[in-house]
């Protein structure tokens, strides 16, 4: 399902297997526990790189699992939406820089997972970003929109992402300011580029607590919605 590996300063979180890496209560629990692990093992200079195997980074929530409950489908959807919040909170709170290396498609909550990282690298040759909700007729949770507003600056880009139902390729995503890079032609190429960035960030040996506190203060609205405290009591730290 997912693994966490440490190579030097870099933590590698990988969504394993050739499937769609859909978020299901079990995957959510797994990812959360691996992020906890990374947090507890973090030192100065730690960096997280998240990637996946196969065609998909993540294709969103496990809608089939929800639908298989018949009348209980809505209940299951609510459960997933609710239990996914802590995953985004954990990423925003992680005491180290975070980089998403998109090996393939990222849709809906899978895209939110990607966007919760400090840096997002896509492939040039393959993979799209897709907020599918408008096509499926599913409302977008408020904290999803808050994340998009926090990370994507232009009104036009926000519209393209949330309202257009477009499948955005790497080049488009870079042009819209949604991702940082779409320069590499394979999953390996993207991972290599993110490792390179990761190593240069690691070399700074930043204090993870300070890093996380500055990161939270960049997104106060989003943190409020994710129930993360934004405390910047710096006066006695001068």
């Amino acid at each position: 399902m997912c693994t966490l590996e440490k190579r030097g300063d870099l933590f590698h979180l990988t969504l394993t297997g050739d499937d769609e890496h859909r978020f299901h209560p079990d995957t959510i629990t797994s990812v959360l526990s691996l992020l906890e692990q990374a947090k507890s093992q973090s030192t100065k200079g730690s960096v997280l790189i998240t990637t996946g195997h196969g065609k998909f980074f993540s294709n969103g929530f496990d809608l089939a699992w929800a639908q298989s409950a018949g009348h209980g489908a809505i209940e299951r959807m609510h459960q997933m939406v609710k239990s996914f919040k802590p995953v985004l909170a954990a990423l925003l709170d992680l005491p180290m820089p975070t980089i998403a290396a998109l090996n393939g498609h990222a849709a809906a909550s899978g895209l939110m997972f990607a966007l919760s990282h400090d840096y997002v690298f896509m492939r040039k040759d393959r993979g799209v970003l897709y907020m599918s909700e408008v096509d499926i007729g599913l409302p977008v949770p408020d904290y999803f929109s808050a994340l998009v507003v926090a990370k994507v600056g232009s009104g036009i880009a926000r519209r393209e992402l949330l309202l257009s139902g477009k499948k955005l390729k790497g080049e488009d995503a870079v042009a819209l300011g949604i991702v940082d890079s779409a320069a590499h032609d394979s999953a390996e190429g993207v991972v290599e580029a993110t490792v390179s960035l990761g190593e240069s960030l690691a070399a700074k040996k930043w204090n993870g607590e300070v890093y996380a506190s500055i990161r939270r203060s960049l997104y106060p609205e989003l943190c409020r919605m994710l129930e993360l405290t934004v405390n910047n009591l710096a006066t006695h730290n001068l």
Partner: protein, 243 residues
């Protein structure tokens, strides 16, 4: 510490001397009283403020050595800078920072608190250094950063990579208005811009009120402006700390 020159309708405030212009209590008091002098000048609402500096530094931030020797002074410096920034935000005239040297942390905040930032491209950078020196960033600094830097990626680069932003980078990021080949040219350009603005006319009092509205979120943090108060009628006073 700082000097004030008046050229027609331009007030030129300069951080003097070759040092780092660290924002210690004395310099902060000096700056505040100079700003007050400018505010009470009869021509103030038809004038422009230009802030610049001598030497290699615009300002290298708070006096951290002082804070280390006497920790209670960090609270004092923070309070005095908040008041100064609140004063600048409510000043009834456009403000131009002619950045001719390094501006770090609190010094960068001071530069960015001006309406226009003109900077030399050959030397110097804007540098939110806190991540590099393990300092947490006050919430009110972040409020200013969020208002003045529009792009989320640029904010991330400034705050989460402690980027040393040259004038050219600043122009690209939308933090710096324009870049010049030397310190002298930067100041000249600031003077020219100031004169253009003066020629346009307009009521500085209205300008100041509009700026307060635009930078409302910063004022919430600096002078505890009540978030629920309506911005139009709330006549923001300089009720900063009387320290």
């Amino acid at each position: 510490m700082c000097s004030l020159e008046k050229r027609d309708r331009l007030f030129i405030l300069k951080l003097t001397g070759d040092g780092e212009h660290r924002l210690n209590p004395t310099l902060l008091d000096s700056l505040r009283s100079t700003i007050n002098k400018i505010r009470s000048d009869p021509s103030s609402s038809r004038s422009v403020l230009i802030t610049t500096s001598d030497g290699k530094f615009f300002s290298n931030g708070y006096d951290l050595a002082l804070a280390e020797s006497n920790p209670s002074l960090s609270v004092v410096m923070d309070a005095k800078l908040r008041s100064l920034i609140a004063d600048l935000i409510s000043l009834p005239m456009p403000t131009i920072a002619a950045v001719t040297g390094h501006a770090s942390a609190a010094g960068c905040i001071l530069a960015m608190s001006h309406d226009y930032v003109l900077m030399r491209r050959d030397r110097g950078f804007l540098y939110m250094s806190e991540l590099d020196i393990e300092l947490k960033v006050p919430a009110w600094f972040m409020a200013l950063i969020r208002v003045k830097i529009g792009s989320p990626a640029a904010r991330r680069d400034v705050m989460l990579t402690a980027a040393k932003v040259t004038a050219e980078m600043g122009v690209e990021m939308g933090i710096v208005d324009s870049a010049y080949d030397s310190a002298a040219e930067t100041v000249e350009a600031a003077v020219r811009l100031g004169e253009e603005i003066v020629m346009r006319g307009g009521d500085g009092h209205v300008y100041g009120k509009m700026r307060q509205t635009l930078l409302r979120e910063v004022l919430v943090h600096t002078i505890g402006l009540d978030e629920s108060a309506s911005s139009a009628s709330s006549g923001v006073r300089n009720t900063g700390s009387k320290l």
